[in-house]
Symmetry: C2
Subunit: 227 residues, 2 copies
DNA sequence: TCAAAAGTGTTCTCCCTACACCCATGG
DNA sequence: CCATGGGTGTAGGGAGAACACTTTTGA
């Protein structure tokens, strides 16, 4: 039993985890809640922050425990503090945006209850997670202009059409093939890969890899991708 | 006395309040702490979030109580959660960035202990407020590319040199007069003001006001100011 | 009349945009 | 051989960057 002179809210972390594949586009990882409140509803993985860990650590811990994924990118993007957002007690949540390489959910006790949902097929969510998701998506769309975080969502070797459809999926727009390729190549972050990808239906596209060294150089000195 | 099965952190809000005038450039409003811990140190206005208010409300309340200012712009920009950031107990803070029209600190019990500090003369701060300030500044610099929040820091009628030196002060750079003016006028957010400003040392600059209607139009449809 | 600050226009370059044709592959 | 998708180049326009001289005003 822990006692305080003034009431204290509980603090949780929640992770909005995005993954991508060509079939489904941008997807988000949700967990079906096994307990009340909102039992049976889908929600972001997350949980109570421990008193001896900071929120970043807590978010990472919950992410790994509940999904088994190692995020390639993770960023705090907001605290959600509505008074009635949790029926049990006053709970505020610190929300994180994470990018992972999409795959079957591997680890965790709740693994069987986790599932990827394409962004256009997300069910109603528990708590205020609908709002959190909307904020996360708009943050992701902003961030993609400043960091090449899109690359984290692709396999190490990828084709230009793949990269384009990833960006289109995230930004919800369509680009001209030629202009998109020119712009990307112009950035100098891509290097052509010798090998050619297999399993393509028609003509074999050339493959690229992401040049991390070049990116590190560019980070110091500002960086902006216009779309 | 409030009891919980698990330990709960305390939650505060802190406001990084920016103001601007031509003499001192961009300044931040600090309050000298009258109580331990960090008694006598300078810190951002803020305080404990009440259990029956959300963080936005709490931040606004504290801002008004402690400084008497009405923010022209306010935005949550991060939760700071280091385990040892407060020696008393586990305290996390939700940090806000606010812009106000700079003036003498008017209201509040602690008014006499509040002071504006130009950004290049900020003293060592209490808690982790140094870090919070650094994050706030970089956020402000980002935001100024997307919203004309700079205008909130100027008087309703202002001159082009004033506007330019505000932007230079925030971004820490220098712009070519002609290019800056052209860019600003091109945005269509400024309208020339009939009256001329007084009290200028040399030639009288033309004055402008900010066209809010035009800004509202531009918000829906995206908006980017390049520098 | 001089010093200090404000006003103004042009050129060059780069990047974004729009757009059409050819090529490789599998069926 | 044809359908599908991948690859490529060019012309035009707009915006940013660099840059110098003239005007106003108070001292």
């Amino acid at each position: 039993m822990f006692k305080y002179d003034y009431p204290h809210p509980a603090v949780t972390t929640d992770c909005v985890i995005f993954g991508y594949d060509t079939r489904e586009g941008l997807s988000v990882l949700l967990i079906e809640r096994g307990i009340e409140p909102f039992r049976g509803c889908w929600a972001f993985p997350g949980g109570f922050m421990r008193i001896d860990e900071d929120a970043d650590t807590g978010a990472l811990r919950e992410l790994k425990e509940e999904t088994g994924f190692e995020p390639l990118y993770i960023e705090q993007f907001g605290a959600f503090t509505d008074v009635d957002r949790d029926p049990r007690e006053r709970v505020i949540t610190i929300a994180y945006l994470a990018l992972v390489k999409k795959g079957p959910v591997a680890g965790g006790d709740d693994a069987s209850k986790a599932r990827w949902f394409p962004l256009n097929a997300v069910p109603a969510l528990a708590f205020d997670h609908d709002r959190i998701l909307r904020v996360a998506i708009s943050r992701l769309r902003e961030q993609i202009h400043f960091r090449p975080i899109g690359f984290d969502l692709l396999p190490p070797v990828f084709t230009m059409p793949q990269l384009q459809s990833l960006y289109e999926s995230i930004l919800g727009t369509h680009f001209d093939r030629r202009n998109f390729a020119a712009k990307m190549l112009h950035l100098g972050l891509l290097e052509a890969d010798k090998e050619r990808s297999e399993n393509t239906p028609r003509r074999v596209p050339t493959t690229y890899r992401f040049n991390k060294d070049r990116y590190e150089e560019m980070k110091s000195g500002g960086f902006r991708i216009e779309f």
